[in-house]
Symmetry: C2
Subunit: 232 residues, 2 copies
């Protein structure tokens, strides 16, 4: 294997985990590892020769830009996530590293062939795509309604669950992969409002800020209540 699949941290969770060792070995020959530093661009909107990739370590954001250059974050990608618009003639969005990251990249033609050769891979990608769809809809739910406080609470609660290993219980401490500006962007607010509301959440004893990026959940139930979410 040209890629270090044997020691890959996402070998049991990425899309390729459904392949047998031989199949995975064959696919890995077509792939290339790549490392990105924080802020580096993986794919650019408009690229015609788009590739796909599985994120191994780090974090990415998928974002659009309006014609005035304002950025809108559409999705975050965590390890074992798959990125790539395999059926579009060109990439619609930029993909940027939020932190230093490692990936497996594949040329589009190779991935197309792999999907035809390995039906299980197509099913795995279908499953992943539907999960991405669900995440996108969750983000719609967060940003469409409610006050600034509710949106921020919902976003933080969502992140705390993403950071947790158990799917239901939120992590009590986590590091935001985002700057304040990116947080504001996702919540549809301004930096200043986010800063103020975080301060209020801290004063009310709901969270505690640790350094610039760290968040400790002191009262997760209250955070969830503020978010107005319908989850149990």
């Amino acid at each position: 294997m040209s890629l270090a699949c044997a020691s890959c941290p996402v070998r049991d969770s990425a899309a390729c985990s459904v392949l047998s060792d031989e199949e995975r070995g064959a696919l890995s020959k077509a792939g290339r590892t790549r490392t990105l530093k924080r802020g580096e661009l993986l794919f650019a909107a408009g690229d015609e020769q788009t590739a796909c990739a599985t994120l191994v370590t780090g974090a990415l954001k998928v974002c659009a830009h309006d014609r005035e250059g304002h950025e809108q974050i559409l999705s975050l990608v965590h390890p074992s996530g798959f990125i790539g618009e395999m059926f579009a003639p060109f990439a619609h969005h930029d993909v940027v590293a939020l932190t230093d990251s490692q990936l497996c990249t594949f040329a589009r033609v190779d991935m197309e062939r792999a999907i035809e050769d390995y039906p299980a891979l197509a099913r795995a990608l279908l499953r992943r795509s539907q999960e991405d769809l669900h995440s996108a809809r969750t983000l719609i739910e967060l940003t469409a309604h409610g006050t600034a406080e509710a949106r921020l609470a919902a976003l933080l609660y969502d992140f705390s669950r993403a950071a947790s290993k158990s799917p239901c219980h939120p992590a009590s401490h986590f590091e935001l992969p985002l700057t304040r500006g990116e947080l504001a962007n996702m919540a549809g607010l301004t930096i200043e409002t986010v800063s103020r509301k975080l301060g209020e959440l801290e004063k009310s004893g709901t969270i505690r800020r640790i350094g610039k990026r760290g968040i400790e959940l002191i009262d997760p139930a209250h955070l969830q209540a503020l978010s107005g979410s319908a989850e149990a």
Copy 2:
């Protein structure tokens, strides 16, 4: 064939269009047609025995509800669209008919079997799922930023393109499948603001309202300019 595939209006565009006639015939034996009247529920959030469906005629909305009962529209489904969370243990969202609709429904187990038996179907659903993902992200882009006018303009422009047969040029006249309240919901605004802004768009000569649901685009370029979108 138990379903009228031969005369189905979406036989060349739905996911099942990738199947051969015999394959489609076999699948259709497992499916059932269903008609819904405006407002009827197809799937309810929390349903454990979820099914899937292809929309043949009409229009659907996918929506979530927060604990106070407020609805949030997450997606619209047009004919040939596929609905169903095939990998989730239960449905996350309600699916409701916006107008009288016809569908082909399939039990989950039958669709799972079909995906395994017909790899081309899995690929078709993957493609469709990625398109749905792109639509969801477009909606995020619409609702996250900009003024009320920009959001409404973007939404209307999006609908006009969906109503058009040619993928790029907007339809000059179309019927909204949504009430004012649903429009407001999708744009993240109130009914009153939508009503006011529609009035302003009409006074400025950008659109014309025809009856309660009809919209005529008088100045599509201006509408697009107001939307702040990055499209060419």
